[in-house]
């Protein structure tokens, strides 16, 4: 069995790929899927430096379709804090493992670019319990909770990790 391989280079087809991966992950609303794709458009239009959006796609060996991706980047006006904007893995086998390895790869590459802290925003809703457990297992801790941020009864949780 092939090992997981990563690529960072982006092209126009990745707008649709990200849309499909976000949709296939089952974890995002239509509006969120649109926004995920918009980040690829912005990256393609403005470049890595100006957009600040880094992408990594994961696939089992070269030449096969990507089955997950992560989008992350430096937080403006901070010295070395980075944000994980999106992570999505298509449902199916090895799902957790691909997500875990994509996140680790993003941290590793960001660390190489000077990142010292990683932040992830997620929901405090009950149906996000597996998502929060995933981040906790990866070494993140809940650093802040903003009640009713996304909607009444839907808090924003900020997870943080020192690299």
């Amino acid at each position: 069995m092939s090992d997981l391989s990563f690529r960072e280079l982006l092209g126009q087809p990745d707008i649709e790929l990200v849309r499909q991966l976000a949709r296939d992950s089952g974890g995002f609303s239509p509006r969120e899927v649109d926004l995920a794709a918009e980040l690829v458009e912005e990256r393609l239009a403005r470049g890595l430096e100006a957009s600040g959006y880094h992408f990594i796609f994961a696939q089992w060996g070269p030449g096969v379709p990507a089955l997950g991706y992560v989008c992350y980047g430096p937080i403006p006006l901070t010295r070395s804090s980075w944000d994980l904007y999106w992570i999505a893995v298509a449902k199916g086998t090895q799902r957790r493992s691909v997500g875990r390895r994509l996140l680790a790869e993003a941290e590793r590459r960001a660390g190489g670019l000077g990142a010292t802290r990683f932040y992830i925003d997620t929901s405090g809703r009950a149906d996000y319990t597996p998502t929060r457990a995933f981040y906790e297992a990866a070494g993140y801790r809940a650093a802040a909770a903003l009640p009713d941020f996304y909607a009444p009864g839907d808090a924003k949780m900020v997870f943080a990790k020192a690299l």
Copy 2:
């Protein structure tokens, strides 16, 4: 003496005006001044809806130069949470009063557009004590603190207010 008047319409000269107001406020770094101006550029390039950046300029009567401005907008993926991105008032007379009234005007107009909560990020550094006191006097409370967010020893404080 004239009363304070507000305007929302933007034009190309406001890129330089915002840069000047942010600089004259004395509260922003050169990088922050650049970023403040970039938000005007993005608003002019993409429009109100797509950029999400609302602006209000304040001046003592019509036809005199603006002496402060606020930039705010709806937070994507939230139902009715809004963010105060920037507020800057040129140093001089009536400074606190102009800032207070600009903030109140932003809340009032956002409320009219459906906002139910306002968020403001600021620094936890000692030299930001007057800034935090300003938000507290306006009814905001510190809802989260993220240590070392901006830099080692420089926390991000999130202030929140239910409208």
